[in-house]
Symmetry: C2
Subunit: 759 residues, 2 copies
């Protein structure tokens, strides 16, 4: 059994392959390797043959059609750092290819307990030689700069020479689709070669990015244990390193080729080439030991993060797949974060958005607070860049986090649905609050968190203005990008209010416990009072006639878009309508007001939230993958079990079923994080608070036997379980904690005192 996601094919098609490149990518938060075929594909295939390094970016020019003051004119891009996944195999001189000979069976699997991606091909060569070729890929969690490929070939009948030709290239182009005329025909090469250090059984390819000047070292070592012949060579022209190994395969026997790639960059290392060589020395020849370490890393991981859906195997596999993707994506060193597509593809150029904090981070807060803190650190490290961004946008105080970035600078080219999404600032506050509630980590608050909170709060004071006794926030864009640059976006005002209030309360607390921190940050009680006052008087749009929260001041005076009469072919709307046209309608790309309800379950009376939910449901296309999961949570919290289940299914299977048609560009990591939240925050009604764990009226979808998941709270590891008739919390490790339930009283659960509540 175990946690395995598997697909079986009997032939190969371009569409399926490009989707599998995303689904079967391997990553460890630093290295991400697309699930391409080692042996390559014909040029007619649309492949994205990439290896990406988290936080390693090039900087390129971004021309603005018109020059307006302080518009963004350059951007970071994640790029294809190296090709260390190309190995040709010749069986008695016949080159292995899925498009030659006969393919009898292809099995691809992501083994999430072993931490490897597997491919097994039963193949008969054109001349009739029958072989089974197994590929095993690993991005090591133990040594984050290591990626390995392990190829085994066996045959019941073949006797002869097998040749492995590995070709690693230091400067490779990014994705270019010959199928999409809108994309350039040739992918861009973002690096220039800096040379190669050759050794007996390998070498280090050294390159440097053209714009950002980051060096990338790729140490490659490869070999075949029972080879009778092997060689290593460097081609300066191609900046490529070639390993050739030849061995004999006898009937019933097998032959194995293992390649180690150690990748390092100059953001992490002062001497990436030297360090890569040192690490290679440690790794080389120890593949099975490395597999064991990978397995034990994952055992520890799943112990803390296990989640199961009982009664639906497909969903159970899918939720494990989802959790594993979050693990693969998460940068773990403070120099990087989690990209919209993780490290699985070049979609969104590898940028980090608000969803890192809002959709993905909650998983780490619940299961691995130490990782959560490191992920949060990225925003602290880029706080100065956020301050500069705020100045560019005219604000004399505070910091504004960039809508999309790798290095910390704003990389969005179209500010009305980019930089104007000021609500990203609130995502930082919400994440910090969530992390602190789960951990009580005052050290983090003092060192990093308070500064981020105060600077983001200051920005709200600068962007908002007082009018008629209300604090208003004009000229911003909410999460719904089908309506841009509006006044008093409900979601934005809600998250800004939270940001201001939470900053105010942290300041109050630190004023007693750590006054030196406030002194360092130059914040006094007057400013804290300003935060509180703005929060208290924040204008929150509400329409008396409809009894709902308006998405913004003028949203409800626009005509209602009739989704049911929109031709199917016109979805997603953003690909078929000029943005200005969309702005004039009541039409939502994604959860906006409803998102506020999910973050703040007590923000409005239930009847208002229910009416709003029904209202926005009718006009939301879910063209964004950030939407269905939020609607699932909102539905669950409103007691709408059936709707919650449907939205959850849409969300959980999005990539596996490729329902948005673009999984090939990379997996939808925000949606994945949202699926996880749909179970924990949605169905289970779980919320970690400062004074304990709150469970709000949990639900279980009809047809499920039950579901369970583990989470940590203030040092204790716990498990939540629910079946059709009861739910429970039990402590696995630690002293336990108080649990607040609908009954209104807090119950302390401990190792020997689980809590069980009948539904």
């Amino acid at each position: 059994m175990g946690r395995i996601y598997k697909e079986i094919d009997f032939c190969i098609t371009p569409d399926r392959l490009s989707r599998q490149e995303s689904l079967f990518h391997v990553a460890n938060g630093y290295i991400g390797v697309r699930g391409t075929l080692e042996e390559g594909v014909p040029s007619s295939f649309d492949t994205m043959r990439g290896i990406y390094l988290n936080g390693v970016y090039d900087t390129i020019e971004m021309k603005q059609a018109e020059k307006l003051c302080n518009l963004v004119t350059s951007k970071d891009v994640m790029f294809n750092a190296v090709d260390a996944q190309s190995v040709s195999i010749c069986i008695d001189g016949e080159r292995f290819s899925l498009l030659d000979g006969e393919v009898r069976h292809i099995e691809r699997a992501l083994d999430m307990d072993a931490g490897v991606a597997l491919r097994k091909v039963d193949w008969i060569s054109p001349s009739g030689q029958e072989v089974v070729i197994g590929f095993r890929r690993m991005a090591s969690f133990d040594i984050r700069s290591l990626f390995t490929i392990d190829i085994s070939i066996s045959s019941p009948s073949f006797s002869g020479v097998v040749e492995f030709i590995s070709e690693s290239r230091g400067c490779v182009p990014g994705y270019a689709s010959h199928l999409d005329p809108r994309l350039p025909a040739e992918g861009e090469v973002h690096t220039v070669p800096l040379g190669c250090i050759l050794s007996d059984d390998g070498g280090v390819l050294l390159s440097r990015t053209k714009g950002s000047g980051i060096e990338v070292a790729a140490a490659i070592s490869a070999g075949c244990g029972n080879a009778f012949d092997s060689e290593v060579s460097y081609d300066e022209q191609a900046h490529s390193l070639r390993h050739v190994a030849r061995g004999r395969l006898e009937p019933g026997g097998s032959i194995r080729f293992v390649q180690y790639a150690v990748l390092l960059d100059s953001r992490r290392s002062d001497h990436p080439a030297d360090d890569a060589i040192s690490i290679m020395r440690v790794c080389k020849g120890r593949i099975d030991e490395l597999y064991a370490k990978q397995r034990s890393f994952l055992a520890a991981f799943w112990k803390k993060a296990a989640m199961h859906i009982e009664g639906d195997e497909e969903l159970d596999t899918a939720i494990n797949f989802s959790i594993y993707q979050l693990l693969q994506a998460a940068g773990n060193d403070g120099l990087c974060s989690m990209a919209a597509k993780g490290l699985s593809g070049e979609g969104y150029e590898g940028h980090y958005f608000w969803d890192a904090e809002m959709y993905m981070l909650p998983f780490f807060i619940l299961t691995d607070p130490e990782s959560a803190r490191r992920i949060l650190s990225f925003r602290y490290r880029t706080l100065d860049a956020a301050r500069r961004n705020a100045r560019l946008l005219g604000h004399r105080q505070g910091a504004l986090y960039p809508w999309r970035t790798i290095s910390g600078t704003e990389c969005s080219g179209y500010f009305p649905s980019g930089s104007a999404q000021y609500h990203i600032n609130g995502a930082m506050a919400y994440a910090i609050a969530g992390y602190h509630a789960a951990t009580g980590d005052d050290d983090y608050l003092c060192r990093e968190g308070a500064e981020v909170l105060i600077e983001t709060a200051r920005l709200w004071i600068s962007v908002g203005n007082w009018h008629d006794g209300h604090f208003m926030i004009n000229g911003v864009t909410g999460p719904d990008e089908y309506t841009c640059i509006v006044n008093n976006n409900y979601y934005t005002n809600a998250i800004a209010r939270f940001n201001l209030m939470y900053a105010g309360s942290v300041i109050s607390r630190l004023a007693i416990s750590h006054p030196e921190v406030l002194e360092r940050l130059g914040i006094g009680s007057e400013e804290a009072e300003e935060f509180r006052k703005a929060a208290e008087c924040m204008f929150m749009p509400y329409d008396d006639g409809l009894g709902i929260n308006a998405q913004d001041d003028s949203f409800l005076q626009k005509p209602v878009w009739d989704i049911s009469s929109t031709p199917e072919g016109n979805l997603p709307l953003l690909l078929h309508y000029h943005p200005l046209f969309l702005y004039r309608w009541q039409i939502c790309k994604q959860a906006d007001t409803v998102m506020a309800y999910v973050l703040f379950p007590d923000i409005e009376k239930p009847d208002v939230m229910l009416r709003s939910f029904r209202y926005y449901e009718r006009i939301t296309t879910h063209d964004s993958s950030l939407s269905a999961c939020i609607f699932s949570i909102a539905a669950a919290r409103l007691g709408l079990t059936a709707e919650a289940s449907t939205y959850f299914g849409d969300s959980l299977l999005l990539d596996i079923e490729d329902s948005h048609g673009n999984t090939k560009d990379g997996i939808h990591l925000a949606n994945i994080g949202g699926s996880y939240l749909a179970l924990t925050r949605g169905f289970a009604g779980l919320c970690l608070e400062e004074d304990g764990v709150r469970i709000r009226s949990p639900l279980i979808p009809r047809g499920w036997i039950g579901f369970s998941f583990r989470f940590s709270y203030r040092g204790s590891l716990a498990e939540f379980r629910i079946s059709q008739d009861a739910w429970s919390i039990s402590i696995i490790e630690g002293d336990g904690f108080p649990v607040m339930t609908d009954s209104g009283t807090a119950v302390v659960v401990g190792l020997d005192s689980p809590l069980r509540v009948r539904l």
Copy 2:
């Protein structure tokens, strides 16, 4: 005396020269030649050495920083079509230059009666030869494809050889400033050479634009009557045509070199080279005859367009200068219009905006209705492009004129302050109404005007929506570009209401007189009724508390920008603040609500208009040159004589004083048209209506003796005069017309029955 604008210098400076290149450009509505120096300038000077052809454009790529649906990705640009203004002069082997030898006197003049630009230089060569060199340039109004340079040299003392070397180039770069690091160092060459047809005394350079494929032919012929030696040669490499002529100059005598350039393009001619040769045959050797024709053209022009300010010579010259610039800019063949900078420079890339109809056309409606009709025709010819533009912006019906264009397609790259300015549609309706009121030209309405009116009206129905019994227009941008994408912009709603109402009334009229026109246009009474209903119920923002019209629904809930505390160096704001920052303030780049008052003097009660005027005056920076003139008119109409005078002065002298600091990029033609309007519509209170000429309480600035101007109405030529104690209208030619005055009764004025009213 005569109409002459003159500047005298004793040396040359780069700043002054580049400004003079604009002020002393010569143009005839088709050809525009910058007032550069024939002999060239040192490379350290910032010169824009351009010759432009109205309506002749290249098409270039315009990259959008982010790919959104249906964004504009290419644009038209007016380009430097040819260099036919370069003539070197050698006096006894010494090359004439204002930077060598001694310059004793430079006089530059625009003779607006003769229709020529003059430059006279008293120069002593490095070796001490004293000469007077006169340059005379003409863009012929009689033969619109003709541009001439006429150089005369005389000397009291010099005896020797004078050499003229003319070098005309077919493919030349556009403007590039080595002083502005934001601009490319090399100007772009927009044409490729197609060869040259050589003849005895000249040739034709043929080129084709790279993107739009328009051919440009430049026939050049040059000669010196008393030359003892001359030659013509073509350099294929440089695609240049060289004329060299040598003659002797004796003390007291003179020598003259005349160059004819005939420029044609393949939009106007099927065989531009052949036709240029034919036209050249007619022109060559007849320069003095051509001068006479130019003078008689201008005599006829001034007869109809004369305007005088008595008591202030500087203003009188400036207003004549302004009128002459309008004449120079106006395309006259329906294939082109009037660019923001006319044909005087490359600013705004030679694009036509709404100001062509709103600011410049009124002059032609008042003085030369036939030209006005041809200018209007440009929009009829580009109606299909406007329909396509509407479709791109999501509208299933109607036409939306592009915010900036040459060919008729939208060329604005940043749609929030480009395409979103839907009010340009209303400018068409207002222009058509103005033209028809002045002429009663039903033929135009039936052939062209009605279709434009109906298609623009249909667009308003598509963009607006009904809400609470009102017709609302959401998500558009008004004239003030410091506030973008708003709901119910007062100006937009006012002009849309007019557009709908006027379309409705024209339909009613044509239903009786020309039902076949309505049939052809597929418009029925139901749709006309829809127009009327929307117009009647148009929502017009009004703030009860302030008693003013709000610029849009949410304008007054924003904080008020304090202009007085803004550092001088931060103006214009658009160069110093991110647009999103500006959008959040009550701050106006230019007249917006006040503009509506100027167009529709009875739109609100006077006290509302006065309060609004005062309110917006306080928050308007006039960073746009389209603003001061409108404020002058509004002030005049509100009886604020002093304010009207100040704004008028700011407007009238803008280019001459270079008060915006960018006259070097071209003259500000909208402002120039607005200055004219400030006298006619503002001070004189003149409005041509369907049933006669209305004069609303005229004013005269203190300190003036009087002012007067001529205008035409329904076939009669009239003159308005005002002094400090009375105003009058007299008929110069024709049967006369009714004049409505403040007294409320209409008086018919005729040839022998002028109207005189005491102030």
